[in-house]
């Protein structure tokens, strides 16, 4: 009943199912993360706008297309990748000034990432219960410093409990440039299973 099989042959895969995937991902490999996460965006200034009912000075609606950079305050976009189990991985989005090539001269290059003390000292043991650090979307997680002396604050983006902070960023901040997908800032477990509540401070696109 059991026939000795050639160890390298037996299984063959039908590649035609993946032609489309191959086409899309070979241009932008990072897209493969869409198979594991759904992506949304967060920026701190958006929240202020909603809460105080003010219109942000950086968003005039009637300017012509050619706007001078001086009039616009670029938003500090973070990504929020949500796994099917609702855990959220947060990090610096490509649209953030730190990663925008057009802004490199002005912003400088990243020199240091410093995590907040309460984040570094937090106890992460079980599945995120009593002892873990509670976070609000605006809670500061870490600060990124650049060669021009600028500092950017990265925040939790979702309400929940801290599951992990990325210590590799402190030891090797260049990871943000060299391996952006490995340079996530933190992993957070939301307090609810309701996606719309979890992502209430996020938007689906940075446009």
């Amino acid at each position: 009943m059991m026939v000795a099989e050639d160890p390298t042959s037996s299984i063959s895969y039908d590649l035609t199912a993946y032609t489309q995937l191959d086409k899309e991902y070979k241009e932008q490999p990072a897209l493969y993360l869409n198979r594991y996460f759904s992506q949304q965006f967060y920026t701190h200034t958006v929240i202020l706008k909603r809460k105080h009912g003010e219109i942000e000075p950086s968003q005039p609606t009637d300017l012509p297309d050619s706007q001078t950079p001086a009039n616009i305050v670029p938003k500090e976009w973070q990504y929020v990748l949500m796994s099917p189990n609702k855990l959220c991985v947060i990090g610096i989005a490509k649209q953030h000034p730190l990663l925008d090539p057009a802004m490199r001269e002005q912003v400088g290059s990243i020199t240091k990432v410093i995590y907040a003390d309460n984040v570094k000292n937090s106890v992460i043991k079980g599945k995120g219960k009593k002892q873990s650090l509670r976070l609000m979307p605006s809670t500061k997680i870490c600060t990124v410093q650049t060669s021009t002396g600028k500092e950017y604050i990265l925040r939790a983006a979702v309400k929940g409990v801290l599951m992990e902070w990325n210590s590799r960023l402190e030891t090797d901040p260049q990871l943000i440039y060299s391996h952006p997908e490995q340079a996530f800032v933190a992993i957070i477990k939301p307090g609810t299973d309701d996606s719309s509540k979890i992502l209430s401070d996020c938007v689906s696109s940075t446009d």
């Binding site: 895969y13 070979k26 493969y32 997908e181 992993i187």
Partner: protein, 511 residues
């Protein structure tokens, strides 16, 4: 029938063990007991007739005749029962229709067992009322009633086991295989024993008094406590709270619970999952099933039909994701069949189920399916942690690899790679956040075409293969992506082998 009872009575008188010297004294005692309203069997009990065939006589008349009782016409019971109103001593439990009914229920289940362990629980008022009869017996000069008499529980057990043997051919004994648990309750007299608690102060409560978050009501003090309280209670104290003989009742005791429980039957084997999107056990999220099929149901349904069990549980030696196939010789598992009615399944009947799944090209198939002894089930869980697994996967790289790079990876892979795996994000919500070192004993990467590669891996149990390929955002190191220097993703995964010898290959099949 009357002569059965008569000869039993004679035998007792002749043995010299009785409190009575002759039939006349028996008649006198019996008539007094009859006037208490006791049923025929309770009368037999209180004249100290030893438990025997006399108790199975189904006619009250025969018993009265044998004892010499002149039953009053208007109080004569009909054919159906041995008393008009339920007996105040046994609460109607010794009525033979009760035992008949339970035996009938048991027969309907059609268990293929030869033995059963019978457990009986009686209402606490039985003990109160027994004491009342005893006191009345002392007061009214019924010598035998005040002594040790056959208890209601023992008589019922006798009646029940006789019927069980006759109707179902089942012996009542101390078996581990089959339990029949009968519990009676009698709401009408449920509080009769409570005066014993009021007499003295409440004993200090202990933690076992708190069940399921609520404190046990004092009505639920255990039988042993009631008996010891009764022992400590003097006759004159007792008569202040309870009439002697015990008062009449309107309703008979009812069966509060009747539980038939058989020891589980275990069926072991190895399962193959030949298609994707099948979970190991039914997977329901927010009321919706995530996969149409589950391994447990495909194998469990035919077994459930054959064995007639209440339910089944599948336990596998490890588990693969729903989108991962299980090939090769399959994964060891056992199914526990809960409360089976039919345990004497033959090898052929089991083989039949295995063959059915194979010949119908079912996406879930089994090998080596067989009944296994309960003790062998521990092999499954032990194997899960210690045995290695073989995998094959379809991998995509963002760029085809340099041939040198391919050789480099395979050279490294031949010697084994030690991974440091943080708990993958996709299970981090239910597993503790740890970094687990896992060894890949062999990694072999081969090119299919363009950016598509096949990787075959032999790994220590518990390694997350998907995370090894793409790196899980840098949280599994080294990853195949790290080794290749490009982005990698895993498109399909198959388990080719789970190396655990289970179940033992049947010796009479050709391997």
């Amino acid at each position: 029938m009357a002569d059965t009872v008569e000869s039993a009575v004679m035998a007792v008188l002749q043995s010299g063990n009785s409190k009575y010297a002759d039939a006349g004294q028996i008649k006198e005692a019996s008539e007094k007991l009859y006037s208490f309203g006791l049923c025929a069997l309770c009368i037999l009990r209180y004249i100290q007739l030893p438990i025997g065939p006399s108790y199975c006589v189904r006619s009250a008349d025969a018993i009265y005749k044998a004892l010499g009782i002149e039953a009053k016409q208007d109080q004569k019971p009909d054919e159906e029962s041995l008393c008009v109103k339920p007996c105040p001593a046994c609460l109607g439990i010794l009525d033979l229709t009760v035992a008949d009914h339970i035996v009938g229920q048991f027969k309907a289940e059609d268990y293929d067992t030869m033995d059963a362990l019978v457990g009986i629980e009686l209402p606490k008022s039985i003990y109160i009322r027994h004491r009342a009869v005893q006191i009345a017996g002392r007061q009214q000069n019924i010598p035998s009633a005040a002594e040790n008499v056959p208890e209601v529980k023992d008589v019922f057990r006798y009646l029940f086991t006789q019927q069980l043997s006759i109707v179902c051919d089942v012996k009542a004994n101390a078996t581990n295989d089959m339990r029949i648990d009968i519990a009676f309750s009698h709401p009408e007299t449920a509080t009769e024993h409570q005066f014993l608690n009021i007499r003295k102060k409440e004993p200090a409560s202990n933690s076992s008094d708190r069940k399921n978050g609520t404190f046990k009501a004092s009505a639920d003090r255990s039988k042993t406590v009631v008996l010891s309280d009764l022992g400590a209670c003097a006759d004159d104290e007792f008569t202040k709270h309870s009439t002697c003989p015990p008062p009449a009742i309107e309703t008979a005791a009812k069966i509060d619970s009747l539980i038939f429980k058989r020891a589980s039957l275990f069926i072991g084997g190895r399962y193959l999952k030949l298609e994707r999107n099948i979970s190991q056990t039914p997977f329901v999220v927010e009321g919706r099933r995530m996969t149409e099929l589950s391994v447990a149901e495909v194998i469990g349904e035919p077994l459930e039909r054959l064995i007639r069990c209440d339910s089944y549980n599948l336990v596998g030696s490890g588990r693969e994701d729903a989108d991962v196939r299980m090939l090769g010789d399959g994964r060891p598992f056992y199914i526990e069949c809960i409360n089976p009615r039919f345990k004497a399944v033959t090898k052929e009947q089991i083989q039949d189920i295995e063959d059915q799944l194979t010949s119908s090209n079912s996406p879930v198939q089994v090998r080596r399916l067989q009944v296994i002894p309960a003790k062998d089930t521990s092999i499954i869980k032990e194997g899960e942690e210690h045995k290695t697994k073989h995998y094959c996967a379809l991998v995509w790289f963002s760029q085809p690899l340099n041939p040198d790079k391919l050789v480099e990876i395979n050279t490294l892979g031949k010697n084994g790679i030690l991974l440091q795996q943080k708990t993958p994000v996709r299970v981090l919500h239910r597993r503790a956040p740890l970094t687990r070192p896992k060894r890949l004993l062999n990694v072999e990467l081969s090119h299919i075409e363009d950016r598509f590669y096949k990787v075959r891996i032999e790994s220590e149990a518990g390694a997350y293969i998907k995370e090894f390929v793409h790196g899980d955002l840098g949280r599994t190191t080294p990853s195949l992506a790290d080794l290749a220097g490009v982005t990698a993703d895993i498109l399909e995964l198959d388990v080719e082998g789970v190396s655990l010898d289970f179940p033992p290959t049947p010796k009479d099949t050709i391997v």
